[in-house]
């Protein structure tokens, strides 16, 4: 998945965010990533000489606060960001072996028939599975 410069600018305008060069770059990197990326991984995708890490960091925060991006996982002390595709959120798989985070197709129905105050919380929650990915299972 990719994003044109115009699409990115429109997206930012709709969120009342200024279209700066690093911000557009972050948007492009997130759009092209097949999986959620950490701050460090975004830096690597951008190439190390480009922009200040703190700037990229704050842009990820901004995009998240604006609802353009979201944190798909906090696992292993790293926030992993992805674009918030309009549709409802899909589940993610966090590998405890290699640390990778993968997007899973929507359709994972967490059948939760729970009464009481937790019902709403659970129904609106994002689903995350933690285990060993196929690659790590093969090695073990």
């Amino acid at each position: 998945m990719s994003i044109t410069d115009d699409e990115a600018r429109t997206l930012l305008r709709e969120s009342a965010l200024r279209a700066t060069a690093p911000r557009l770059a972050v948007l492009r990197v997130l759009a092209e990533a097949p999986n959620p990326l950490s701050h460090t991984e975004v830096l690597e995708c951008l190439g190390k000489t480009d922009w200040d890490p703190a700037t990229i960091y704050r842009n990820l925060i901004k995009l998240r606060d604006a609802g353009v991006a979201l944190v798909a996982s906090h696992a292993h002390g790293m926030d992993r960001y992805e674009l918030a595709h309009g549709d409802g959120h899909h589940p993610h798989f966090v590998c405890e072996g290699c640390g990778r985070v993968a997007c899973l197709p929507a359709g994972l129905t967490a059948s939760m028939s729970m009464e009481g105050p937790w019902a709403t919380s659970i129904q609106n929650a994002m689903v995350q599975l933690r285990g060993e990915c196929p690659d790590c299972l093969a090695k073990a």
Copy 2:
């Protein structure tokens, strides 16, 4: 839930772990906690008994490696430990608002039918829900 000193010693013996004072203390704290605890929270629970943080840290690792405890969540850069109750693992709810992690009753099985290499990974995975807990929903 609590644990007697004898039960703790037996549990450790079965795992080939020496029964040291800080280790027994960690075991007792985990046994009494209603929710998974971070390293820092375990230190706070131990309170007056002033053990070295690194010792407590390594004990949590040891207990995890021995299968006595497990990491219920990595959220927000904190590993949260709980005793590995014999039965299969239950899901957990991670609140993005206040950061608390709560144990959910088993039976909230997220059923996903997926083909291919991911099938096994998914079936053996632990389920984690991320959202806003009832308390945080009430404030918002």
